[in-house]
Amino acid sequence: MDESKEGRVGLKSHGRIGKSEDMKSHKTNVEAVEPADQPEHPDMAKRPHRPEIRLGREAQARIGELLRNMYNSYVNQGVPPHLADLVRRLGDEG
């Protein structure tokens, strides 16, 4: 492609003449890479592959127990009166 015909005149008038030679080659390299396998989800494309490790059942069970103990202690506090009043009031107002 002839880059002199790519409409860069407007950029030149602002003092920045496109990209350096290094950046041009970088851009070319990026564009040249066509993904052979599309990731299942866009999230997956952003991250390098990292090996997954898995805890043993006992460790998972222990963490689950600690987590549920903490969470249930909050659940058991119930509904603070001001939040219950808010729901009832908004429900009545419609």
Binding site: R68, N69, M70, Y74, V87, L90
Partner: protein, 183 residues
């Protein structure tokens, strides 16, 4: 128009777990209550968008989670400055668990990246399926599974819980892998 009493009761029934989720996320009871209140205001203002018969808890958790994340982005430094402050802000202590152990767990939980923490709480405590948790967090199911796994691994390391599968990596390796990024 008055709110359908059945819908209102569903909302009220969800509040305890919604509040537990909020406290677990932000580590501050006052902020959690503000977050729940804002969630309820938004939910009831847009109750027409809730389809009766669908998952009310998931709908409310999604609203709360999105509110938290938008607030979190604004107050990121404060939230991530969690070395001890997270636990200090919580004043209630359960009787069924030793206080030291309880505080250690909360402090360790606060050290997790926010996306891992919310995934672990949704699946491991709130009782949502991986599918529901993915819908709440707006990501793929595989991403949720990965986040939960990394959260557990990181917690095991922080709490020195050692019962990794016999052929698993050693603790130092786990720490590097678990702390290597958000996922």
């Amino acid at each position: 128009m008055k709110l359908d009493p059945a819908i209102r009761d569903q909302v009220l029934a969800t509040v305890p777990s919604l509040r537990a989720f909020a406290i677990s996320l932000c580590g501050n009871i006052d902020r959690a209550d503000d977050l729940v209140q804002e969630t309820l205001l938004r939910a009831l203002a847009h109750i027409d968008s809730f389809e009766p018969g669908t998952n009310m808890p998931a709908w409310l958790f999604t609203i709360l989670r999105n509110l938290f994340r938008s607030e979190y982005r604004k107050r990121r430094r404060e939230v991530e400055d969690a070395e001890g402050r997270y636990a200090e802000t919580l004043k209630s202590h359960p009787e069924q668990t030793g206080r030291v152990e309880f505080d250690e767990f909360r402090t360790a939980l606060a050290k997790l990246p926010a996306d891992q923490r919310e995934a672990l709480i949704l699946v491991g405590a709130s009782g949502f399926s991986y599918d529901d948790a993915a819908a709440i967090c707006g990501c793929a199911v595989g991403t949720i599974k990965s986040r939960v796994n990394r959260a557990r691994t990181r917690l095991a390391d922080l709490l020195a819980i050692d019962s990794v599968d016999d052929f698993g990596p050693d603790r130092a390796t786990r720490a590097v892998l678990a702390g290597g990024g958000r996922g």
